[in-house]
């Protein structure tokens, strides 16, 4: 029993050294050497300043920008999570219905994309569906005094396709799209 106890303690220490220190630190060094951009969080630099991460959504509320999905954590990247509202929760049903009405007023000609009126799982979803981007085009074209076709072209250039042809869904990165819009 005592021998086993001693072994248990030593084993914990040795395995901690291997899997808890050597393994993650080796990965960190390798990552920094081989994939420095990804390893450091895919940060985007604009005019010599870091203005965000490609993978983390931002709280775009100005009408001249494409808007991201709703976030249960207000796009604060020091938190994350969804609304966790259940399907029979009055709060959820009420929120979705009122947002739907607002968006319908903004663009009555198209059906409201579902991803724009639901909260994402992470609260930091950097993408919207291409339909959700197209839906916002009239508003942005009006404010930026651009032709709708030009913006549609811009969206088309930013559509990320399914990986390997079948994995995931088509999507548009909101931050990259808005950056492109500012540069236009």
């Amino acid at each position: 029993m005592f021998n086993q106890f001693k072994t248990a303690i030593l084993m914990t220490l040795v395995l901690t050294l291997i899997t808890g220190l050597i393994y993650p630190l080796t990965m960190t060094l390798l990552a920094r050497a081989i994939f420095p951009y990804q390893a450091n969080g895919s940060l985007i630099t604009h005019k010599n300043k870091i203005i965000g991460s490609k993978l983390i959504s931002q709280d775009f509320t100005e009408a001249k920008y494409f808007h991201p999905r709703l976030s249960a954590v207000n796009h604060n990247a020091d938190k994350s999570g969804g609304s966790n509202l259940g399907p029979t929760n009055k709060k959820l049903i009420g929120r979705i219905k009122s947002d739907w009405k607002k968006l319908k007023l903004e663009n009555p000609s198209k059906s409201v994309p579902f991803d724009l009126i639901t909260t994402s799982a992470s609260g930091l979803d950097p993408h919207i569906t291409p339909e959700a981007a197209v839906f916002q085009v009239p508003r942005i074209a009006r404010l930026r005094k651009l032709k709708e076709e030009e913006i549609l072209k811009l969206i088309n250039r930013h559509i990320e396709l399914k990986q390997l042809g079948i994995l995931g869904e088509k999507r548009v990165n909101v931050l990259e799209l808005n950056l492109a819009l500012d540069k236009y």
Binding site: G20, K54, P87, T88, N89, F114, L124, L167
Partner: protein, 566 residues
């Protein structure tokens, strides 16, 4: 449901199926100590470990010694992690300036990670230091998975050997599973994750000003190295609160696909390792087939109910449910992840189960309640399947009036007692704790959604804790003294009161002679047995939950289609 979605599901199943044989063979070699490709790298390290820890690798243990070693090792692991959590403010690698974790939460976290549950009652952001992530969580992610593999290998030896006391050496099984299996796979997977965008650094949080001039704090850390073992070891505890829904943990559909494979990989391949070690691969395939059938039923039901969307929103003309899901994954990747993670005792999530439609959310819950035997947690899932197989041949034995046998071993009183104990402990634990939470004010206080959905949140919490899953209906606020204590206890019961009887059965079976099959033997290698086993699992493991389920998701579903909201 779309064609593309179904193709993706089939593609996923095919890839897993293709990997079973090669990995199963490799693992059988590792535990039979036959030579493998990685020997030149790991044999020297293995020798050093045994020397440092005074392990005699040639000495084998009987089931009592084996269990003793396992429990002592887990106990030290819990204490060690608890100390790290309590003192992380004084330790290095803490750029976020995380403070010490309070006692009740530290107890819950320590049992959670040591029992392979990885249930998280807290949001890790700004609370858990990089030191704890690496030397606490990453380590437990490896060793708790290693312990699971050791248990199933010991159990397998009980069938492969005869008339001996010894079921192997715990320290050797643990070391070999970590060095030969978990470490190399984690390494490769983490590299791919980093390439796809998962961060791996020790940076302090990045303060930025967004395009609109608002400030944002971006947290990172050594994410990739933990992400890979989190899935491979079916641990599931997230680096971030949103777990695998967080774009830093799971940035692309491709990483998502790899995570799905990683969750099932080892558990599924172990069925083949088992078959090979008992010298009849069909025995492994039969167990796997039963798992596959149950898995596919779950996928189809979940996919169907998530696709039709919420009847309460039918005048908006919306299909599908995107609340609590990510755009890059969409419906299919989200429901597939939900079913895989609960079938396999992983508990990582890429969508919020709490926001699923009632029946779609019930399938993950049922997966957990059945004891996560559909592939299951690495090792422990397959052990659970053995228990059902043993109960299955026993019931069949009663029907034909012969002594039941399973893979050449006579199943007698002791095995049945232990199997029934292990199978019943889970529903007992789930129901008692749920009942307690439902009648006490501190239990009910944590509920976010009212109506039957709130009840589902509670029973999901205790099923997840007792079943060592770790996923959650996240609306329930569980970081309270009551839930930290009760879920902590549930995790311990669910882990050890299943592992100990399992090893006791192994100890009893290994002594018995292997008898050749006779006319009265129920064949356990054909399709009949697959369906028979599924029936046993559903009646013995599933029916016991039916009353509770009808109070939760089932009644919620019927209220919902009749237009009732809460």
């Amino acid at each position: 449901m779309t064609i593309n979605g179904i193709i993706e599901i089939v593609f996923y199943c095919l890839i897993v199926l293709l990997l079973i044989k090669p990995l199963g063979l490799y693992m059988a070699k590792v535990f039979n100590k036959e030579s493998t490709l990685l020997d030149p790298i790991f044999c020297p390290i293995e020798k050093i470990i045994y020397k440092l820890c005074s392990v005699n690798s040639r000495e084998e243990q009987n089931w009592i010694k084996y269990t003793q070693a396992l429990i002592l090792f887990n106990f030290i692991g819990v204490v060690f992690l608890y100390i790290i959590l309590r003192f992380q403010n004084l330790l290095p690698f803490n750029p976020c300036k995380c403070s010490a974790i309070p006692a009740d939460l530290a107890f819950n976290i320590a049992t959670s990670f040591a029992s392979n549950t990885n249930w998280q009652t807290y949001a890790p952001e700004g609370i858990i230091s990089y030191f704890t992530e690496m030397l606490g969580f990453t380590v437990q992610n490896f060793v708790s998975a290693g312990v699971g593999i050791a248990v199933v290998i010991a159990f397998t030896r009980a069938f492969a050997r005869e008339q001996t006391e010894n079921i192997g050496n715990f320290w050797v099984d643990l070391t070999r599973s970590i060095l030969w299996i978990l470490l190399p796979l984690s390494f490769i997977l983490a590299m791919v994750f980093i390439f796809e965008g998962v961060p791996q650094n020790l940076n302090s949080p990045t303060q930025i000003i967004t395009l609109e001039g608002k400030s944002q704090t971006i947290l990172q850390g050594p994410v990739a190295s933990r992400e890979s073992i989190k899935e491979l070891g079916t641990n599931g505890g997230g680096f971030f609160n949103a777990n695998s829904a967080h774009p830093y943990e799971n940035p692309t559909p491709f990483t998502n696909f790899l995570q799905l494979i990683a969750i099932f990989l080892i558990g599924a391949a172990l069925t083949n390792t088992f078959g090979r070690m008992v010298k009849d691969e069909r025995q492994g395939w039969v167990l796997f087939s039963a798992m596959a059938v149950l898995f596919l039923i779950g996928v189809i039901i979940t996919y169907y109910f998530e696709s039709i969307g919420n009847p309460l929103l039918k005048d908006l003309n919306i299909n599908g449910n995107m609340e609590g899901k990510e755009v890059r994954f969409g419906l299919v990747d989200s429901i597939l992840y939900a079913v895989v993670t609960t079938a396999a005792s992983c508990g990582a999530v890429n969508s919020m189960h709490d926001s699923f439609q009632p029946i779609a959310g019930m399938i993950p819950l049922i997966n957990i309640m059945l004891g996560e035997i559909i592939v299951g947690g690495v090792g422990v899932g397959l052990s659970g399947m053995f228990l059902f197989a043993i109960i299955g041949v026993f019931i069949a034995g009663l029907m034909v009036g012969r002594t039941p046998e399973y893979i050449g071993k006579k199943i007698e009183t002791k095995e049945i007692k232990m199997s029934v104990l292990a199978v019943l402990i889970l529903p007992l634990c789930v129901h008692c704790f749920t009942a307690l939470a439902c009648v006490t004010p501190f239990g009910v206080k944590g509920v976010l959604n009212s109506g039957p959905h709130g009840f589902t949140e509670i029973i999901y919490a205790f099923s997840s804790a007792s079943g060592n899953n770790g996923s959650a209906f996240g609306g329930l606020n569980v970081n309270t003294f009551f839930y930290n204590l009760t879920t902590g206890l549930a995790m311990l019961v669910g882990r050890f009161l299943i592992i100990i009887p399992t090893l006791a059965i192994a100890g009893s079976l290994v002594r018995k002679k292997i008898v050749p099959p006779s006319n009265g033997t129920l064949p356990t290698t054909d399709l009949t047995f697959v369906f028979y086993l599924i029936l046993v699992i559903i009646t013995v493991g599933g029916l016991v939950y039916f009353p509770a389920l009808s109070l939760g998701p089932i009644v919620e579903h019927f209220l919902m289609i009749n237009g009732k909201a809460f």
